[in-house]
């Protein structure tokens, strides 16, 4: 405890002429949950791709800065070595291998890990304890699972590599609130078992409850950072990400002539 698991320093990345990340620095201390908030296009997914070295699949590249895991540099490694070093990602939109069975998806998750046969068996036990439904559906095609179950599979698949740091890209996206809460509980449980978590979310309320520290990313730059509870209390974050309408905005609404906002006819 206390050391930093994942350390991102001054990271810049872009897609051709488009600069998607500018001098981003953040730290995931060992054993903690850290969240990165931001709207669409803020650079959240780019950040995770830069860490996992998969930017090239999207025509992008890291243009500066460093990423280290427990002091070892991860930049310039191929993606499989990043996985072997102990960083697994649950990509946005789940991306389960839909034509493969649930069991084969989990096997695929273990391909990059360094645990060997014993490590794989232990990882599988852990995943089945976290998500018993994955054991029940082992022989079923992953494409036939519900959205929530697919998200569980995606998380379970990433855990099969027994990572030190788990990166989660919008795990609550497209899930019913109850299922999102369920996933959040699991993230907490995974963290309590000793895995550090970097959680990228648009659902700020959920993310700030889970995390001990938070960063706000806007147009490729970190604009706010601090302990999660402080950020949750800050007006800026409340207004922008927690959907809390402040007094001024509310009185603006009340100032319309008949009290009800009206839409003008569209003259397209």
């Amino acid at each position: 405890m206390g050391g930093s698991a994942l350390l991102v320093r001054d990271l810049s990345a872009g897609y051709g002429p488009v600069r998607a990340l500018r001098h981003v620095s953040l730290e995931v201390p060992e054993g903690t949950v850290v969240t990165v908030l931001g709207g669409n296009g803020a650079g959240k997914s780019t950040l995770l791709r830069a860490v996992c070295r998969t930017l090239s699949f999207h025509g992008g590249a890291v243009t500066g800065g460093t990423v280290t895991l427990g002091g070892r540099p991860l930049d310039r490694l191929p993606p499989d070595r990043v996985v072997a070093a102990g960083v697994s990602q649950v990509p946005e939109g789940r991306r389960v291998f839909s034509r493969m069975t649930v069991a084969d998806n989990l096997r695929a998750g273990a391909l990059g890990g360094a645990g060997g046969r014993v490590g794989r068996a232990r990882a599988l036990r852990r995943v089945h304890e976290l998500f018993p439904v994955l054991a029940d559906r082992a022989g079923q095609r992953a494409g036939l699972l519900s959205g929530g179950e697919q998200q569980m599979l995606a998380v379970g698949r990433a855990l099969m590599g027994a990572p030190e740091v788990l990166l989660l890209d919008e795990p609550s996206l497209g899930l019913a609130p109850l299922m999102a809460a369920r996933i959040a509980d699991t993230v907490r449980e995974i963290n309590e078992q000793g895995t550090s978590v970097l959680l990228v979310e648009q659902n700020a309320a959920l993310a700030l409850r889970l995390a001990s520290r938070a960063y706000v990313l806007e147009v490729g730059e970190v604009t706010l950072s601090g302990p999660a509870d402080e950020l949750a209390a800050s007006d800026e974050v409340r207004r922008r990400y927690l959907g809390v309408v402040d007094e001024d905005a509310a009185s603006d609404g009340a100032a319309t002539p008949d009290g009800l906002p009206s839409l003008s006819r569209w003259k397209g």
Partner: protein, 296 residues
């Protein structure tokens, strides 16, 4: 009736050999999304190695050398050529394979010249006769070997880590990379396996009753194209069914040619393509292919 049975058995045997070649196509396509037009030259390379070595080192070692040789050529093509273009559009890569095919075929035809090389197989021209039906030993050997290889391949594809990595990479290269799959290794393996399968197919395309390995042998390999395509380019099951369908069609069309003279001669060579077009008209993705789905 016995003619029909003979033609059917010969067709199945021939079809299983086409299936071996088509399986190679499918493996490369699934692992790299590239349609490999250089497949025929891989096959010719494997056949050539076997045919030139069997006098000196015996048939079985020569066959192994042929398999290893074709696997090496396949791996070399991937490593020296295809890898340089990774990230390019798949259609560009397909055209690159045409270039590779021209180079390899030119060199091999230069070496083979006008010769007809015998594969030196132990079956010779022996024929097994059961009642009214007679079938060449080579055809039986072809069917048994191909079935065995295909079974082993499918089991490996289904149950080994290699198979899981292969299928994961086929479904989504980026996600597979996130799981730690080494895409370069997967694609290298696919080319090598395809080469090895093609070398075995080369043997059975050059044994009795064909005269032997000649320049035109690579044309026979092209018949695996309609087999792979009508089965659906990304389906291993499709490659098998497609191969058998093409083999049987060709065999029957050739056998009953005399009854079909109003269609002209050489129908056997044409029939597989007719079947392919007919099937694609009804099922554009092939019999077992994945339909292109786009979410909007």
């Amino acid at each position: 009736m016995s003619t029909f049975a003979e033609l059917l058995l010969n067709g199945l045997s021939l079809g299983s050999v086409y299936a071996l070649v088509a399986l190679g196509f499918v493996v490369i396509f699934r692992a790299t999304e590239v349609v490999n037009f250089a497949h025929a030259s891989l096959l010719l390379a494997g056949g050539y190695v076997t045919a030139t070595l069997h006098d000196d080192i015996g048939f079985w070692p020569a066959l192994l050398a042929g398999i290893a040789g074709a696997a090496l050529v396949g791996a070399a093509v991937e490593f020296l050529v295809m890898r340089r273009y990774r990230g390019s559009d798949q259609s560009v890569l397909a055209i690159v394979t045409i270039g590779v095919d021209i180079l390899l075929t030119t060199e091999l035809t230069r070496r083979i010249g006008t010769d007809v090389l015998t594969p030196g197989d132990p079956w010779g021209d022996a024929v097994l006769t059961v009642g009214p039906v007679s079938i060449a030993h080579t055809r039986i050997a072809a069917f048994v070997t191909a079935s065995l290889l295909i079974t082993v391949f499918l089991l490996a594809f289904r149950f080994t880590s290699w198979g899981v990595a292969m299928r994961a990479a086929a479904e989504s290269p980026e996600t597979a990379a996130l799981m730690g799959v080494r895409l370069g290794r997967v694609s290298l393996g696919a080319w090598a396996v395809a080469g090895g399968l093609a070398a075995v197919a080369a043997l059975f395309l050059t044994v009795f009753p064909t005269p032997g390995l000649e320049r035109a042998t690579s044309l026979a390999a092209l018949k695996a194209f309609p087999a792979a395509i009508l089965g659906g380019l990304d389906s291993t099951t499709g490659a098998l069914v497609g191969g058998l369908l093409v083999g049987v069609t060709e065999s029957l069309a050739t056998g009953y040619q005399s009854d079909l003279t109003f269609l002209g001669r050489g129908l056997g060579d044409l029939a597989p393509y007719v079947v392919m077009v007919a099937i694609l008209l009804i099922r554009p993705a092939g019999l077992f292919g994945t339909k292109e789905l786009a979410r909007v």
